[in-house]
């Protein structure tokens, strides 16, 4: 029983439900059968079709067995250190395969897709919960004897094929299995379903594994054509003149956004406001100005019904909708918008006195969360489109609406805090500026975010600034850290439980 003992060639596939792993293993079995090789496959489909991870494990004995000879004993489990080909149809699944020990530098050829299918925890985060996958990619490359990594999902899409066919091609292309590529192609033909599409995908995978294709990277967005814009040129010149290099791009984008949102005076107001921060931040590297500029622009262009209607009634957006639906130019596309305006939306455009009264009434009678008008607007019809378009046309009226005043005074409150901090400690100013990130979404979500924001202002930001001139070392650093902690807590759960806990802890710590 020397080390030169014949052993089965082993292949493991970590797929997700709906990727056709069953068909893929069938193709390989058919090919092995045609090559007169003994092959065995087993699967843990468990909750496969229900989006969970699915694994297949296959062994192929590389030598033809004469009839009647005793057959090799095939394992139904993969072994750590003994997997010849590991396939993962998604990057984190490749990471998982490594974690479980199925990718080892002395043996394993890894075929993995670089695209991501986000796990639920990554998607539900209130901010950005996505995993940084650079480390995973580096790790899987290091763990594999050879790594064939490319965006399999995109390759399938671009070739009008499916993931499993591209993977089969890649498996054939690595040449690890004792089966020639033509035999796999015959297996695809023998199966007889979507043969051409599958063969296209196969051919691509084959080339990719042979290294004949330079790795696909997401197409970088082309820089927008630099249409000279007279209207915005003045703002550009002002930004270039008055702002540090690091902040310019964001600040100019912010001014343009305010211009698009309202008008030139509004964009001017944006820059006037930001000038104060830039002045206070003079000693810094411009980061505080840039980040304040980012949040100020987003806040000043708060998403009211007018803004939503404006965005939804632009030609570019209509084209995007068609493209997203995958419609051909001559195909009609019926588009339905799901809108549900309520008291808040109505009041945002009422005159301030009236708006305030209605809101007060609604709060008093518990109607604020209850009165809504559910609309399914067909924007592919002239009438439906017109409804939204008229809403967008209310833009000039916005300044006279109730919400405008409310937002501007809150913006000022926040801005004053950032300005005051910027003169003293850049780190603190940065953290205060970031607090504006809490304010996003619509209706309930928006109100919750706003509530959290105000709690932070009341309990941490303003008290810290009121204690101006505190001579304790680390005073500002501590204040900044507390704000950051509380802000992250506010983003931890929608009910604000983590925030309450954190604020309590901070209060106890201070006491």
């Amino acid at each position: 029983m020397a080390a030169t003992d014949p052993r089965p060639v082993t292949l493991m596939i970590a797929a997700m439900g709906g990727e056709g792993g069953g068909v893929l293993t069938d193709w390989i079995l058919t090919a092995a059968h045609e090559a007169h090789l003994v092959a065995q496959n087993t699967a843990i489909p468990g909750v496969a079709q229900r989006t969970g991870a699915t694994t297949y494990y296959m062994e192929i004995f590389p030598e033809r067995m004469p009839d009647g000879a005793s057959e090799p004993v095939m394992s139904i489990y993969p072994q750590v250190g003994d997997v010849d080909v590991m396939v993962a149809t998604e990057l984190v699944e490749a990471g998982r395969a490594c974690q479980n020990g199925y990718v080892t530098p002395d043996r394993t050829t890894l075929i993995a897709s670089t695209h991501r299918v986000y796990a639920i925890a990554e998607k539900t985060a209130m901010g950005d919960g996505r995993l940084d996958t650079t480390q995973i990619e580096t790790a899987v490359r290091r763990m594999a004897k050879r790594a064939v990594l490319f965006d399999v999902a995109r390759a399938a899409r671009d070739n009008g094929s499916v993931i499993n066919a591209v993977i089969l091609g890649a498996i054939a292309g690595t040449g690890v299995l004792p089966i020639p590529a033509e035999t796999f192609e015959r297996a695809i033909r023998a199966e007889g379903k979507s043969v051409d599409a599958n063969l296209r995908g196969f051919a691509y995978g084959l080339k990719a594994a042979k290294g004949d294709i330079v790795e696909l990277r997401p197409r970088a967005a082309k820089p927008a054509a630099a249409t000279p814009s007279e209207v915005l040129a003045d703002f550009r010149d002002r930004v270039v003149r008055d702002y540090p290099q690091t902040a310019r791009e964001i600040v100019l984008e912010g001014a343009a956004r305010c211009f698009d949102y309202q008008d030139a005076p509004y964009a001017t107001l944006y820059l006037d406001r930001l000038d104060r921060i830039a002045a206070a931040d003079k000693a810094g590297d411009g980061t505080v100005t840039r980040e304040t500029g980012r949040h100020l622009a987003l806040w000043m262009t708060y998403e009211d019904v007018i803004r939503v209607a404006q965005i939804k009634t632009r030609t570019a957006r209509l084209d995007k909708v068609r493209a997203g639906a995958g419609a051909k130019p001559d195909q009609p596309v019926i588009a339905t918008e799901f809108l549900k305006p309520g008291i808040d939306e109505l009041c945002s455009i009422l005159p301030p006195v009236l708006g305030a009264r209605v809101i007060a009434w609604a709060d008093r009678t518990g109607r604020r969360d209850r009165l809504h008008l559910g609309l399914h607007i067909r924007t592919s019809t002239v009438f439906g489109f017109l409804m939204l378009r008229l809403m967008a046309a209310l833009k000039p009226w916005r300044r006279r609406g109730y919400r405008y005043g409310v937002e501007q005074s809150l913006i000022e409150r926040w801005l004053r805090a950032v300005e005051a901090a910027a003169g003293r400690d850049a780190g603190l100013a940065r953290e205060i500026a970031e607090c504006a990130r809490l304010i996003k979404g619509y209706s309930d979500t928006h109100r919750r975010g706003m509530g959290n924001f105000q709690r932070l202002m009341d309990t941490l930001v303003e008290p810290a600034l009121a204690a101006a001139g505190d001579k304790r070392p680390d005073f500002y650093a501590n204040a900044a850290a507390a704000i950051a902690t509380a802000r992250n807590a506010a983003l931890a759960d929608p009910e604000g439980q983590a925030l309450t806990r954190t604020l309590d802890q901070l209060a106890t710590a201070r006491a």
Partner: protein, 726 residues
């Protein structure tokens, strides 16, 4: 069901000396026909659903042979069917998922095992244990011991599995005892081949009818017959079984030169043990082992003489036995003690008491055994170093990855009609606060996982409502119970609804009606729109509920989330006492898509008008809060890089797999989330009028459209860079 098994059915027709290629569970099905069964019954459940599914599609073949197929509504029903073999020489088989199915079946099984059988009775159980298992982790072994049924655990290769099915019937007949054939998940799904025999027509069947009933009080489970039956078990049946197993060598012994030690294993673990030995240089790829092996294809009863024969002269043996308690290890110790053999028995001291025996686990066990025993002429260091290498590989990977990667729990499929129910419950929670939810078994159990995390207990199939009977009266608001239509017909109607009404339960029951037994592979149910004999089964959940006296009964279409919320709220707050039942209806999307996709493709080809729905998110309107995802968890609702320069958090996006069920739009409506969602329907083959109208609309809309945003001018440095890139 919506899936077809045409190719599989063909392989059931193979005749003498042909070669079968396919999955383990299908091989069992073929073996049943080769054994001349008169009847087959079962209840679906992974990993044995296929057995019944394929037979349903094999109706013409079964008709030719005269075999009766019963798609039972529970495992109890399937087990009770084996009663046919008590009085008559009919061979029969039943199948289900274990141990949960065996739990349900055990009333009938106890009676069956007590009465004993004339005709061979085989129970094919899919042992759902370890990775991929969806149930509580227990062993079937206990059932075999307590009721005295024989337990087969064949090596996981098709010829052995098929042989054990055929031998199992003989064993059952010579010992008058029902026999269980245990197959683990991987064995059920293992793809291999075997030489087939011709199918056998049963002695009695629909073609050859029994003419006289057999009356024999000794086969009735009443005293004093039961006392005699128990004595018959120990005095006759057990010895007969032991004799048969030994004489026919159902267990296998493989010699080896390292005779000082040995390995005893359950047959199902043989391949794993051999591979572990191969890895440490103690066996070759063909299973020729240096250590003698004793393979228990029959794990109950043990054959004392065989055990003693294998152990005699050995310093130590390793018992590789998956799961707990360690019944086999205990039994072997007893055999050795009685035979006064001093062989040491290792097992759970070097192998884990709980959990699946994967190749890595067994490798560690073998290494641990060798280290403890240190046999002569065996390179123990090689085993030790192999384990060390495994550890190093894993440690290296973990350190390179920087920590474990996030888990990927299963969830509702894209477009699942059950998701909106839980979205609605989440929305209702905001209003009424959380309450106790008694979950049930089915796809809807995924509500207990992220993002919903709804459901406080799971007590068993169809037992959602029954399990709320104790907690309900002690809770400060009405408690909610879940039940699928599968669970409803399995036993929920009686154990749940009838019992609740009988006891004046004041709770809320949500019956999830998706039209199939979906979690097990879309088998038809009594209330499905289809049945095996085409056309509806003629039973309705509504009718059944009314029949057992339910007064408060509402049906909602699940995708209308706002309505679901409203009805749930009404059920929770109405002054009306008594059980309130909501039937939440919506066809299983996987099953529906299987059908609708083909239909749509056909229509499009035929030039008929089809509107293909899909949802979208306006990425400029979305602010990246992801509430929509927290209330849905749809696989097609994902996140992407924010295209906005000013924003950093990713925005929601609907990916290509969307089937346009509309849940995200409805949830966003019901929970008043945001105006980002829109639905598109691409029209294929529009009519002439529609085309003209569309042309006009598009022109008018283009003319009406809001002016585009003025592009941000390039900064001086940027402009140069853009030119350079051109």
């Amino acid at each position: 069901m919506e899936r077809s098994f045409k190719a599989e059915v063909e392989s059931l027709r193979l005749g003498e000396g042909e070669t079968f290629h396919g999955e383990g569970i299908l091989a069992v099905t073929k073996a049943l026909l080769q054994s001349g069964v008169s009847y087959v019954g079962g209840y679906q459940g992974a990993p044995v659903s296929h057995l019944i599914d394929v037979l349903v599609d094999a109706k013409p073949l079964l008709d030719e042979l005269g075999v009766h197929l019963e798609t039972s509504t529970s495992e109890a029903a399937a087990a009770a069917m084996l009663g046919a073999s008590i009085n008559y020489p009919l061979r029969g088989a039943a199948t289900w998922k274990a141990t949960v199915g065996t739990n349900v079946a055990s009333d009938a099984l106890s009676n069956l095992a007590s009465a004993g059988v004339k005709g061979g009775a085989l129970i094919v159980i899919g042992e759902d244990y370890g990775e991929g298992a969806s149930i509580i982790q227990e062993r079937s072994h206990a059932f075999a011991m307590k009721s005295q049924m024989w337990l087969l655990d064949p090596r996981p290769n098709l010829p052995t599995i098929v042989n054990m099915v055929e031998r199992g019937f003989e064993l059952s007949e010579v010992s008058n005892t029902p026999v269980m054939l245990e197959l683990r998940i991987r064995a059920c799904h293992v793809y291999g081949r075997f030489k087939t025999k011709a199918n056998r027509r049963p002695q009695f069947s629909r073609h050859d009818l029994i003419e006289r009933p057999d009356f024999d009080f000794s086969r009735i489970c009443l005293p004093p017959a039961t006392y005699a039956q128990e004595r018959h078990k120990v005095e006759h049946r057990m010895p007969a079984a032991i004799r048969y197993v030994a004489e026919n060598r159902l267990n296998e012994m493989f010699p080896g030169d390292a005779g000082e030690i040995g390995v005893i294993m359950q047959g199902g673990l043989y391949n794993t043990v051999v591979r572990a030995l191969h890895q440490v240089g103690l066996a070759d790829a063909f299973g020729r082992s240096r250590i003698p092996l004793y393979v228990l294809n029959v794990t109950y009863p043990l054959i004392p003489d065989e055990v003693a024969k294998f152990c005699v002269g050995k310093k130590a043996v390793l018992m590789v036995e998956e799961g707990q308690p360690d019944y086999l290890e205990q039994a072997i110790n007893v055999v050795l003690r009685k035979a006064d053999l001093q062989t040491r028995v290792h097992g759970k001291d070097v192998l884990p008491m709980a959990g699946e025996y994967t190749s890595e686990t067994v490798l560690r066990g073998v290494a641990g055994f060798l280290e403890k025993v240190a046999p002569r002429n065996i390179d123990v260091a090689r085993a030790t170093s192999r384990v060390k290498t495994v550890d190093e590989h894993k440690a290296q990977a973990l350190s390179l990855l920087g920590g474990p990667v996030p888990p990927r729990p299963p969830s509702f499929c894209t477009g699942c009609p059950e998701r909106p129910i839980f979205s609605a419950l989440k929305i209702l929670e905001r209003d009424l606060g959380p309450t106790h939810i008694s979950a049930d078994i089915g796809c809807h159990t995924f509500s207990t996982l992220p993002p919903f995390n709804l459901g406080n207990t799971v007590l068993g199939y169809g037992l959602g409502l029954a399990s709320s009977a104790g907690v309900g009266p002690s809770f400060n608001k009405r408690v909610i119970s879940m039940m699928g239509d599968g669970g409803f017909w399995h036993n929920g109607l009686t154990n749940g609804v009838a019992s609740a009404n009988f006891n004046r339960n004041d709770g809320v029951l949500v019956v999830v009606k998706n039209g199939y037994s979906s979690a097990t592979g879309w088998q038809w149910l009594p209330s499905s729109l289809q049945s095996r004999s085409a056309g509806p089964g003629g039973m309705t959940i509504e009718g059944a509920l009314k029949g057992v006296g339910v007064k408060w009964l509402k049906t909602v279409y699940t995708y209308e989330v706002s309505k679901v919320v409203k009805v749930l709220k009404e059920a929770m707050t109405t002054a009306e006492r008594g059980l309130k039942v909501i039937i939440a209806e919506g066809e299983c999307m996987l099953a529906k898509q299987r059908r609708v996709r083909a239909e749509d493709a056909k229509k499009i080809k035929a030039g008929k008008r089809v509107a293909m729905p899909k949802f979208g998110v306006d990425d400029q309107v979305c602010t990246g809060d992801h509430s929509c995802i927290r209330l849905s968890g749809c696989p097609s609702l994902s996140v992407k890089e924010n295209p906005d320069k000013l924003r950093r958090d990713p925005v929601a996006t609907v990916i290509e797999t969307c089937v346009g069920c509309g849940n995200c739009g409805e949830v966003s409506h019901a929970a008043i989330l945001c105006p980002s969602f829109y639905k598109t329907e691409v029209v294929y083959n529009p009519g002439a009028l529609e085309r003209v109208l569309d042309g006009i609309r598009r022109r008018v809309i283009a003319w009406l459209a809001t002016p585009e945003a003025i592009p941000t001018p390039a900064l001086p440095g940027e402009a140069r860079m853009a030119e350079a890139a051109e």
